[in-house]
Amino acid sequence: MIEPGSPAPDFSLPDQDGKRVSLSDFSGETVVLVFYPSDFSPVCTDQLSVYQEVLPQLEEQGAKLVGVSVDGAFCHKAFQHHHGLTIPLLADFHPKGEVAKAYGVWSEEHGVSSRALVMVGPDGTVEWSYLSPPLEIPGANLIFDALEQRTPA
C-alpha cells in the first residue's frame, strides 16, 4: 500500500449524491481516506458507525473523514441513510476500484478494496497509512494516534 512521504494520487469520484469530489478539494486540510470493502456488510457498518460517533472529536483535532468503496452512489446514499452517517462516501465504481488500485489497497481476490486508512496532509503528501488484517476493524484510536504523532506544520 501507499507509504508515508509519497504524494497522494489525486482522484475525482462521485459521492453519495452524485457530486464529484476530488482529493484536491481538501488542499490545505488533513483528510483521512477510509477504504473499506462494501456498504452494508456487518463489519464495515460497525467501523463507519463508530467513526461517526467521534467525528466531532476528529474534526476538532483537524481531520476530515471520507469513505471510499466500490459501491455505487445510490448504494452509498442508502447506506448513509440507513445508518445515520454523515461521512461522505465516494463511489470507486467505474472504472471499478481505480482509486483503491492507485493507493495500493485493491484486493484482486475479492474484487473490492481492502480495509485501509490513509491520512493525507494539507500539502497532498501521505502522512500515515494503515492496512488492516482481514476481518479486523481499525479502531478510531489509530487515527487519533496518527494525528497526535504527525509533525506540526
Binding site: D46, Q57, Q61, H83, G84, G139, L142, F144, D145
Partner: protein, 167 residues
C-alpha cells in the same frame, strides 16, 4: 484537548459496575445492540466477574444513549444490573414510557430516575466509558477484554478459551 489516542482499557475500579466471581471480563456494550443482548445471555451463564462499560453507537442505535442513561439512573438507586438485564432481555420496548414501566417494576423513585437520567453526571459517566473504549480500540459491539486482550463480537470459542486459561 481531551485525548482519544490509544490506551489500554482502565483497570476495573470502584466506579465500575461489577458482578460475579471468576476471571475478569471487561465488556464494552451498547444496550440497544442485539449482539450485546446475545453476548449477555452467554456471559450470564459463565463463572466470570463482569465489568460493564457503556459504548453507545447512536448513529446505528438511536436509543443507545437513552438506554445507557436509564441504566445509570437506575444505578444511582442501586439497581444498575437489574435495569441492564431488563433492557438487554427485552429490546422490543425501549421508548420513554417503557423505561418508566421498567423503573416502576424495579420500584425506583420515578422523579429521581427522570432527573438523574438527564443529568450531566450520568452523561459524563457514559462519555468517559465510551472514550475509554475508543482508546482501547473498540470498533464493534460487544467487545470483551480478558487479561488485556480484546475479543470483539459475541463471545465464542477463543473467548471461552481465554476465560478458562485465566481462571
Amino acid at each position: 484537548m481531551t485525548r482519544w489516542s490509544s490506551a489500554p482499557p482502565p483497570e476495573p475500579g470502584p466506579a465500575d459496575h461489577t458482578r460475579g466471581e471468576g476471571p475478569v471480563v471487561i465488556e464494552y456494550a451498547d444496550l440497544e445492540c442485539p449482539y450485546c443482548a446475545k453476548a449477555h445471555l452467554i456471559l450470564k451463564e459463565l463463572p466470570v466477574t463482569r465489568v460493564f462499560r457503556h459504548f453507545p453507537v447512536t448513529s446505528k442505535h438511536p436509543r443507545a444513549r437513552a438506554l445507557a442513561a436509564a441504566a445509570e439512573a437506575a444505578g444511582l438507586q442501586g439497581r444498575f444490573w437489574e435495569m441492564h438485564d431488563s433492557l438487554l432481555e427485552d429490546q422490543g420496548h425501549l421508548d420513554d414510557p417503557h423505561l418508566w414501566d421498567r423503573a416502576r417494576a424495579l420500584d425506583l423513585d420515578l422523579d429521581r430516575f427522570e432527573a438523574d437520567r438527564r443529568s450531566p453526571r450520568v452523561k459524563d459517566r457514559i462519555d468517559a466509558d465510551f472514550r475509554s473504549g475508543i482508546r482501547a480500540g473498540v470498533a464493534t459491539t460487544p467487545t470483551q477484554f480478558v487479561a488485556g486482550e480484546p475479543h470483539p463480537g459475541v463471545p465464542g470459542a477463543s473467548f471461552e478459551r481465554a476465560v478458562r486459561s485465566g481462571s
